[in-house]
Every structure is written in C-alpha cells, then in structure tokens.
Amino acid sequence: MATRDSLIQVTDLKKHYNMGAIKALDGVTTNIYQGDVVVVIGPSGSGKSTFLRSLNLLEEPTGGSIMFDGIDITKKKYKDASGKTVKLDIDQLRQKMGMVFQHFNLFPHMTILDNMVLAPVKVKGMSRAEAEKKALALLERVGLGDRASAYPIQLSGGQKQRVAIVRALAMEPQVMLFDEPTSALDPEMVGEVLDVMKELAREGMTMVCVTHEMGFAREVGNRVLFMDQGKLLEEGTPEDIFEHPKNPRLQDFLSKVL
C-alpha cells in the first residue's frame, strides 16, 4: 500500500447531533488511495451515507479531519505553500469530487445536454461548444448519445443515473462518490448502471461507493469498509470481508444480506 498515493486521509471523523447524544459518525479513520475502489457497506442508519457526504462537505463534520490535496478540508481556513492563511474554497474542492446520488438529482428544467454542460461552462469557464462536444462523447460512452436533447423525465431510472454519472465525470473529478446509486432503481435497471461503474473502475477512477450490491462490492471493490453505529468496524479486501469476516456484527450483517 505504501507505494500508492493517498488521495483522501480521514482521521477520527465525527458527526454528532444533540450534544453527542446522536453519533452519526463516531471516530472514523481510513485512507483512500489513488485508484482505489472503496465500497462502504453496513446496515441502514450505520452512518455510511453520512461518511460519504462528509467527504465533499455536504455534511459538516463536528470533529476529526479530512486531508484532501494536502489540505484539511474540515477547517474553514488553511495555510498555503507560502504560509499565508487562505479561506477554504469549498466550490473549488467539490469540482474535484464527483458525486452521484440515490435519486439522480438531474435538473428537470434542462435537457440532458444542458444538465451536462452547465457546470463545465459556468464553473470551469469552458466554451459552450467544447463542453457540448465533451458531453456528447461522454453520453455516447454510456449509450445515450441520441438522448441529448431529451428532458430528464423522458428517461428511465437507469438512463437517468447513467446521465448523472457522466454529468459528474464532465467535471473531470479526481474521485467519484456514489451514494447508493442503484437503490432507487427497478431491478432490471441495476445492471446497466453497475456496468458503467465497473467500466469506470477499470479505467482507474478512484471511487468511493456506498451500496447494498454485495455482488458489486465483491467483484469491483478492492477494499470494503463495514460500518455500524457510526463506527468503522472492519475493513479489508472483499475476500477478507466476505469469506473471513471477524467482527461478529459483520458476520451477523452478512448472514442477513447474502
């Protein structure tokens, strides 16, 4: 592991509500390396979504640190290379982390193409023509090149989620975060979305994925994290986790889902 670059270092991450009466995250420490496909599993309410959403600060942690690009992004200010104190630019940070949601969250008032070019044009300052060319190429890759002028409501769930994935990819992120990307899909559409994710993994994209798809975790993940009650209870290769689980709660969880 030492040969690979750590992309995100999470140390003792905490998210408490009501003065610590509710601990959504209770001291999570882990590393996400370049090229990793990290799959986070666990029962519902275990804090896995909160963990994922903390990584791009959709949830603000109440304790601990997240180092990304050499900056602790949980602090509002940081010192840059020359020692000057700079305010954390959260928008800049989020450009480098693509996120895919359970409910797709496509913008319903825009065509698929507009959904895809909005951020590259408005945030990155790319020209409209260039952004469109790139968007069409990405849509082509996920088999939706002919739906560019459609509105989100005209697409099936699986198609919407594929658009959501390439919309995030259009910003050329360093890491992709998936928050239960197949949980809201009809069973026959899960495969098409997982296929896109598998291809992405093969190309070497760093991915963190919260999912209930154990098959995907086993086949594509190179590391699996098991969380329960806000704590990271066990982590290891898919083989470790699924064939030789040590933690009794993991054993119990697996006996229920497998």
Partner: protein, 261 residues
C-alpha cells in the same frame, strides 16, 4: 320606467374619451412600475428570509467548540437579523390596509420629502404618481416575497446538493437551478398578484393619481352620469387584466416543457 343603462348617456360621456385614454395609460404605467419595484423588493426580501445569516452564532458555541443545545444563549445565537427585518416588514404590510399605507406614504413620507412637480406626457403628475407607485410597490413586494419564498422552498433539496457537488456556488445554484424551477411553480400565483396589482392601482385615485377611476370621477362630476362611466372603466380593467393572465399562462406552458413525456 327608466332603464338601468341609457345608451344616450354613452354619447354624453363620449367627449371625455380622452380622459379614459389617459387614465388607462396611467393605470398601465402604474402597474408596470409597481410590478418592477414589487418584484425587485420581493426578491431581496425573499433572499433575506431564506438567508442563514447568524452574526451571534458564536454565542451558541460552548467552551469545547460544540453547539449548545437549548437554553437562552442557543436562542440568541439563532437570531437572524435579516430574516427578522424581512419577516416584520412582510407581516406589517400584509396586516394593514393598503389605503392606510398609501396615505402614510403620500402625506407622511412625501409630506417631508419635496417632490419636483412636473408632468410626464403632459398629464401624469409626477408628485402624485411617484408616491402611488412607491406605496403599491412596497405593498405588492410583501405579497410577492411570500410567493417567491414558498416557491424556492418547494424545490427538492437534492437539486441544491447536486448543483453544489458539481462546484456551483450558492449564487449560481440559485440563479441556474433553484429560481428557474421555483419561478415555474409560482407563475400562477404571480399572475394572480399581477392582476391584483392592476386592479388595486385604482385606489391611488384617492391621492389624486389620474388613473381610470379618476377619469370616472371627472366624467361623473361634469355630466352627472354615473353608471355608464363605471361600465367603461369596468371594460377597460377587464381588457387589461384578462390578457395579462392569458400571457402568463402562455409562459407557464412554455416553461413546463420539461414536465411532459
């Protein structure tokens, strides 16, 4: 027995057609300026109400850097002065008669501030017209604020999350994602408010704005005919309001393109 409406009376008021024409123009201008002022004001008020500006936030943090739960200090730390001002404004303006507001603006505020007295187009008295526009704009701003706020709050939080996760700033999110969708949802309510503004502008004749109603009064005084000028005014108001709601309905259809399969 005399009939309710006498056609001969219409010929009596015909010489005063010019008054109605001018009154109509005044009403249209009054409504347009009111809408412009009201909408800008409403947008600012709505943003104030939706803001998360808490200057006393530090009072709600305890020694260990955690947020306090409950207690007086927590209450104080939640105080949002922008929200408070906007809410107070909206509630006061909505809970008092517009006639009172117009009088206060005209006699109170513009009794102190001397307005230049000149006439636009030769018949619009600026020192009457301007206070009328200000009062109506302030009033409709309060109503439109609530409409805009409810529209923004009706948009699913996932939209903001998606936009922010793509790197859009808070302002860009509002401008490209939230407001376009919110505007579509609230268009029927806005259309209603616009029509109300046109009709409500009639009240400004009480401070001497020469709109349609003041034309009715002038004709009544000159000819002692009352029903027929009122019918003319009714027809003019209808011809202004009805197309307005139709035009907005057209935009509503255009904006809902994304809703159809």
């Amino acid at each position: 027995m005399d009939s309710f409406i006498k056609f001969s009376n219409f010929s009596k008021i015909l010489p005063y057609a010019q008054l109605f024409r001018q009154g109509m123009l005044v009403t249209i201008l009054l409504s347009l300026f009111t809408v412009a002022i009201g909408f800008c004001l409403a947008l600012i008020l709505a943003l104030m109400r939706l803001s998360n500006f808490r200057p006393l936030r530090f009072l709600g943090i305890d020694k260990n850097g955690h947020e306090r739960q409950g207690g007086f200090l927590e209450l104080v730390s939640r105080f949002n002065p922008l929200n408070f001002i906007a809410t107070a404004y909206v509630e006061i303006l909505r809970s008092t008669p517009v006639l009172v507001q117009i009088f206060i603006i005209y006699y109170g505020v513009f009794g102190l501030i001397e307005l230049p007295s000149f006439q636009v187009f030769g018949f619009i008295k600026f020192d009457r017209f301007f206070p009328g526009v200000v009062a109506l704009g302030m009033n409709s701003g309060a109503y439109l604020c609530e409409i805009i706020r409810s529209g923004v709050q009706s948009i699913d939080g996932g939209q903001t999350e998606a936009a922010r996760s793509l790197g859009l700033s808070q302002v860009q999110n509002l401008r490209y994602i939230i407001l376009p969708q919110a505007l579509k949802n609230i268009l029927p309510a806005i259309a209603n408010e616009f029509v109300v503004i046109i009709k409500e502008s009639a009240i400004t004749y009480t401070i001497g704005v020469q709109d349609i109603m003041s034309a009715v009064n002038a004709v009544k005084g000159a000819t002692f005919v009352i029903i027929e000028p009122l019918l003319v005014a009714t027809a003019i108001y209808f011809c202004l309001c009805f197309p307005t709601s139709k035009v907005i309905a057209y935009f509503e259809r255009r904006m809902s393109r994304g809703d159809k399969r």
